[in-house]
Amino acid sequence: MISAIIVMAVIGLVLGSVLGWAELFYRVAGDPLADKINDILPQTQCGQCGFPGCRPYAEAMAKGEADINRCPPGGEPGIQRLADLLGVEAKPFGEGVAPKPKSVALIDENTCIGCTLCIQACPVDAIVGASKQLHVIVADLCTGCELCLAPCPVDCIHMEVVHETVNNWKWRYPLIPIHQQREAA
């Protein structure tokens, strides 16, 4: 009996010290999970999730502090990917949060006063222009985050839905009549 207890105690002592050493020796810096999550996020930096940008939201999710259904630009597929990565069940968007069709911002040339406020608001440097000069949004770089709408003092920016053209047209899922889809769109 005593011998059994001694054996257990020695094993505990040895393994405990090995683990204590290993914990410090193999400590990993940073959070690789947050990087993986950030790769899934659409990088619109729109802040609709309640975090100042995609990276902070990714870090919050990695820590388990934020839900996966707070990124409308990522859409349902985005939620699905996050759910797959994090091993949780996908859930629908909450009340009042819904993905919108992909849009880009457009500056009304006649109204823009060149105040540069939108340039400062744009999180992805998609607006070019100088003070007191007309500003232009580079449509290819615009993520459609709408952050430039609010700061504009003259409301000269509006969102334009990106329409389907021969360029960005995609083959439809088969078995669904293509013409019907087109009419619906």
Binding site: A9, G12, L13, G16, S17, E23, L24
Partner: protein, 212 residues
């Protein structure tokens, strides 16, 4: 380095502590349950052996009076086994032999064979087998009463030529489609009786523990 040694101290001591507590708890439980475990194990073995003996036909402690049985091809034993003499009021009333039928459908069939001093079977039970479920496993008392047909049989009853299943011209029942298992058991029981007949004297001469 200080951080390391502190951490190692912390983890090893806590794991040490839990190990000691766990080991002590287990040791205690083990000590507490040991008598009960031994008793119930013995009870179970007695119950198993007693299956081949009619109730009230013995008053001895079957387990304590176990004797070694040498390996013998007649019993199918390749390693030494055991046999259990039973006495009633000091008189040997039966002997329970371990035997093995080596040619089951799927390997060995282990048997307990109870034999009265006059060579008459008190009962046979299969203790271990791997026969096909639903086909050959009716030799097991849990599946069918087939094994009870040995009760009361002896080497002369039926005649040696009839120690076969009916399909082979003998007297023993079988189930259509599954003849290998009963055949093996019938043969093994016959051989066990042969062995008993040959070694009757020594088997019955053993001392029996009456400490019941």
């Amino acid at each position: 380095m200080n951080e390391f040694s502190h951490n190692i101290k912390l983890t090893s001591l806590s794991l040490f502590g839990f190990s000691v507590v766990g080991a002590v708890l287990l040791a205690g439980t083990f000590q507490l349950t040991r008598p009960s475990i031994e008793k119930s194990e013995r009870d179970a073995k007695i119950k198993l052996i007693a299956q081949v003996l009619p109730a009230g036909s013995y008053d001895s402690d079957l387990v304590k009076s176990a004797h070694p049985l040498p390996a013998d091809p007649l019993l199918g034993l390749r390693k030494p086994g055991e046999y259990y003499p039973a006495t009633l009021a000091g008189k040997t009333s039966a002997v329970v032999l371990e035997a093995i039928a080596p040619d089951g459908y799927d390997g060995e069939i282990k048997l307990l064979v109870g034999i009265q001093p006059d060579g008459q079977l008190t009962g046979v039970r299969v203790t271990e087998h791997h026969e096909t479920p639903g086909l050959g496993d009716y030799i097991d008392i849990a599946k069918s009463q087939w094994i009870r047909q040995f009760d009361g049989k002896s080497l002369d009853n039926p005649k040696p030529d009839d120690w076969k299943v009916k399909k082979d011209g003998g007297k023993f029942d079988y189930m259509t489609g599954a003849t290998i298992s009963p055949r093996a058991v019938v043969k093994a029981v016959e051989h066990a009786l042969d062995y008993f007949a040959q070694h009757k004297a020594e088997l019955l001469a053993q001392e029996v523990n009456h400490g019941q």
